[in-house]
Symmetry: C2
Subunit: 319 residues, 2 copies
């Protein structure tokens, strides 16, 4: 939860003058969101979200993210639509940060995942994958397998502060994942971070997807593995197979997984668990006291990783 950059009313006024969206009515920081500063912005013409991109986002990637969102929105995916200024630009500077205005999506993200959320999430992910097929630009997944050894390198010396033996366990797990990683699966644009706080529901129906700032071009089924980790584990870190089955079925009704994707699910899940384990571990070791964000326990993902290591095949996920 975070507002990292405070925006003065003068700076905001000058920024809004670049758009044809009316005069400001209200402006509040949004608690959700860890990477960027987000504000709820109301003008005389409607509601918007103002995002200031903070240091973790590479400004060179922003046109790709915004372009993907525009592309997906044009194909019926309910996601934030970048708003262009009078000059046609969706991206400009505000308070020394790159910043964009997007449309406001109604809905509420589920604080507690229920079984009935999972099929719609799977379906929405598959729709996103299909809708992205004709978006030509690609973005390498910097937090994909090629990025994990470097992440572990930066955590290894202090990993055992979090849990004795953790560095050794991660070294072994990572080596196995890299060795087993499938190369020939269908690729496309993936969300890569479709956690519950990025999915809105309204009146019992999925009403929108947000936060495309980890999106990249990678294995489609890896995105599903991220969702299995994010949506289908209980607070005691056991897999809820009913939820997993619903998620996979929801996905499969829109985009059928091929045999190689099904077979790869356990290693993809191990990789997804490692990815979040490593970034959380890095943040855990590097979040200064008094920081604005709550550190998330990396060990939640160690327990998921161990589950996936024990999974023989896709049957473990109810497939």
């Amino acid at each position: 939860m975070a507002v990292y950059t405070e925006v003065s009313d003068e700076a905001l006024g000058a920024f809004l003058a670049e758009y044809d969206i009316g005069r400001m009515v209200a402006f509040r920081g949004i608690a959700e969101g860890v990477e960027n500063s987000n504000f709820s912005l109301r003008t005389t013409t409607g509601d918007f979200i103002l995002t200031l991109y903070e240091k973790r986002v590479d400004p060179a990637d922003l046109p790709w993210f915004l372009g993907l969102m525009e592309h997906l929105a044009a194909r019926g995916i309910v996601c934030p639509l970048p708003v262009r200024g009078a000059d046609g630009a969706a991206l400009r500077l505000l308070c020394g940060r790159h910043a964009a205005i997007t449309t406001f999506l109604p809905g509420v993200w589920p604080r507690r995942v229920r079984q009935e959320h999972c099929a719609p999430v799977g379906a929405a992910l598959a729709q996103l994958h299909l809708a992205g097929r004709d978006f030509a630009p690609c973005r390498e997944n910097t937090l994909g397998p090629a990025g994990w050894p470097g992440l572990l390198e930066r955590c290894r010396a202090r990993a055992d502060e979090v849990r004795p033996g953790l560095a050794e366990e991660l070294d072994a797990a990572l080596a196995e994942v890299i060795a087993d990683w499938p190369q020939a699966l269908p690729r496309g644009h993936i969300h890569a971070d479709l956690f519950p706080d990025n999915v809105f529901f309204l009146d019992g129906r999925l009403s929108g997807l947000i936060d495309f700032y980890f999106a990249a071009t990678d294995l489609l089924a890896y995105d599903l593995a991220v969702c299995l980790n994010a949506w289908c584990f209980e607070p005691d870190m056991s897999l809820n197979v009913t939820k997993a089955r619903a998620l996979l079925a929801g996905y499969g009704e829109t985009r059928k997984l091929d045999g190689s994707e099904c077979a790869a699910l356990p290693v993809l899940c191990r990789g997804a668990a490692l990815r979040f384990l490593l970034t959380r571990l890095f943040d855990w070791l590097n979040t200064p006291p008094g920081a604005l964000v709550t550190r998330k326990d990396p060990l939640d993902y160690l327990r998921r990783l161990r589950f996936h290591q024990a999974a023989k095949d896709a049957h473990a996920y109810g497939l």
Copy 2:
């Protein structure tokens, strides 16, 4: 900035069923606010704020706070109006916390105070003081002078960690303030925390006051001293006399200060500076690593305190 309590959609749905304000459309945590968890809530009938009262607020005080807000709103003060449920109650439980829904106020709080903000703030404070006159219930100011020795007691042992000699300086300053504290000034209900983030402006006009959860019954001119500290110092902690003069003039046009109040301004300002210095010092020493809130530097208020100690009389504030 804070959301301390996460509200599940089921719990929220059950809570909203107690009100006649339509169905939920959106629900977001608000970054602003340090003491309580605040959410922006949109329903099919409009916009609201949902507040969950966290541990610093005494539940026994909540009816008084909400009653004062209703009273002030009925007398034309633009402040959040508590929304009553179908059962007539404005206060109920949600996720183990006391919670209330209030109306949403348009406007934006000034991230950087300009001179032209100060007269309207003074005027609004005076209007609040007048509007509160016929609200009969009283609430002792637990963070008034009687509370300061206890606060210092809880910080003294570690105060010098923040600055060598701080404990001794605070002991001396507090003893003087208590000895000099005026007893016979006009009393009434005060906001007691009217900082810039609690005052909204829209199109260059003051559009509302929020956050009445430090309000109490105390010396009216003390409230003005809080505002002088909060609105009229520059980032280098020097007093901006032009801002102070504007604040005092804005106040005086609506409620004229009497001679004893003018004469007491320096000691009231010393007291107000001490009050925020002490609570910030306590928070500084007691905010755990990884907490959700940014700690505010207590020494900003030490520098204000020293300014007030050097002030001979109200002329120092441009009066």
